[in-house]
């Protein structure tokens, strides 16, 4: 299992050291922040077709408080427990503590934290704080941009708030989880910028992993994605994640598509 994961990670690093990317990752967050005083609104739909079609919609507001601090507020709706209903919410904040800029490149490091609530019953050791579980998460992100290629690594720890009333009897129950990821993004188009109205086309490839530190169960997903940026402010993401290796029974978000649209309002909060 561990060997398989290592092999996949190595292949991934090898394949992507030569190509170039951007850092507006689809399945993870970069260490960079939003511009200060800006607001963005996101609508995301994610779902899977097996064993039957179920999906979740996420409404999200993102705020760049100042150049180093930003936060997201999310609301989750899904039909995972029958009828489509509101299932929870989440608050995510990120603090950028390191920023080394050079022409056409940068290295950034950030710390993040998340608090989540969810009404869903629990029946697996897996933890997903974007809809499925109530709990907290904290971690670090490191992002290196090199002209058209951006690489990013995330390492985090999460723990659920134990809610006996939501536990399904006899099923495994969540406790804590390590999450880690390696992401790469590549700016495909335009080759040469002429103006803000040119669409940007970015290609992403992410490796997303989780390990239960107590029981040792793990999984590793590969997640390719496409991204289109229109007028330098509207972002459209299309991605798919599938499990490459893993032994976590009943895990969340297995073989899942993701579709998202994001609108950016720069300087929306600045008092002129």
């Amino acid at each position: 299992m561990t060997k398989k994961i290592m092999a996949i990670v190595l292949v991934f690093i090898g394949a992507f050291t030569k190509v170039g990317a951007q850092e507006l990752y689809v399945f993870t967050e970069p260490a960079s922040n939003m511009p200060s005083n800006s607001i963005a609104v996101r609508l995301t739909n994610e779902g899977m077709f097996e064993p039957q079609f179920n999906n979740r919609s996420i409404a999200e507001v993102m705020v760049g408080l100042n150049k180093n601090i930003m936060f997201h507020v999310q609301g989750f709706l899904s039909d995972f427990d029958g009828r489509y209903r509101v299932e929870g919410g989440s608050f995510y904040a990120k603090y950028r503590f390191l920023s080394l800029d050079a022409t056409h490149s940068h290295f950034r490091a950030a710390a993040y934290g998340r608090l989540s609530a969810s009404k869903r019953p629990t029946y697996t050791r897996d933890i997903n704080l974007e809809g499925d579980n109530a709990g907290w998460q904290s971690g670090f992100v490191f992002t290196q941009l090199m002209h058209k290629l951006a690489l990013s690594a995330t390492l985090g720890y999460s723990q659920v708030f134990e809610q006996k009333s939501k536990q399904i009897a006899g099923a495994p129950q969540p406790d804590q989880m390590l999450n880690y990821s390696l992401s790469s993004g590549y700016l495909l188009l335009p080759f040469i910028y002429k103006n803000y109205n040119q669409p940007n086309f970015n290609l992403y490839f992410e490796v997303l992993g989780k390990t239960d530190p107590v029981h040792g169960n793990s999984y590793l997903d590969l997640a390719p994605a496409l991204q289109l940026i229109l007028n330098s402010k509207t972002r459209i993401d299309l991605g798919y994640r599938f499990q490459a290796a893993g032994n976590m029974p009943n895990r969340y978000l297995k073989n899942m598509y993701l579709a998202r649209v994001e609108f950016n309002f720069f300087n929306a909060l600045s008092k002129k």
Partner: protein, 178 residues
């Protein structure tokens, strides 16, 4: 045709004459740490939120922003720098087009224009007149490595902090290179 030429020359003269009323007419900034047009857009919008900025013209490939200011306005270079930082990036180079009117640079390399104090690392005992292109060499206006190199060469005690005591008052001092 000739009349048109004369007219254009005359108008130019007029424009230049007007410009002497202000010190900084345009600024050319190299912004570092960004490569995407969304980032450039954020930077431009951030700069435009300053009341005295009249136009921002970006070169999206080189990440150079030419900022033009409203006539007669007082330009604050530190504020420009902060706006770039607010957007999430840094200034790697800043070249300002400054208009001087018989400004004397003393034997130490210091010039006082109104309430602004400038110290030149490569000019002394001279009188500045007309349009002069200057580079700001203060911290956060050049790359960190360039600042370290400059720190070893620039003699002013005010260089490390960008502030110093002039006529008994602690003031912001911009360090410039011609």
């Amino acid at each position: 045709m000739k009349t048109t030429k004369i007219f254009i020359c005359f108008s130019l003269l007029f424009v230049i004459n007007k410009a002497t009323a202000q010190q900084i007419t345009t600024v050319e900034m190299q912004v570092t740490g960004l490569t995407c047009s969304m980032c450039s857009q954020a930077t431009e919008k951030s700069l435009r939120s300053l009341s005295y900025v009249s136009d921002v013209s970006p070169d999206l490939n080189k990440n150079v922003f030419v900022v033009t200011f409203k006539k007669g306005s007082t330009v604050n270079l530190d504020q420009l720098n902060k706006k770039v930082k607010d957007a999430g990036f840094s200034v790697g180079k800043l070249e300002a087009n400054m208009t001087f009117n018989q400004v004397k640079v003393d034997d130490q390399g210091q010039a006082i224009v109104g309430s602004s104090i400038y110290r030149f690392d490569n000019a002394k005992n001279q009188v500045l007149n007309g349009n002069v292109k200057v580079n700001v060499i203060d911290k956060n206006f050049i790359s960190n490595s360039a600042f370290k190199q400059k720190s070893a060469v620039v003699k002013f005690d005010s260089y490390a902090t960008g502030t110093g005591v002039v006529n008994g008052k602690k003031v912001r001092i911009y360090h410039l290179s011609i």
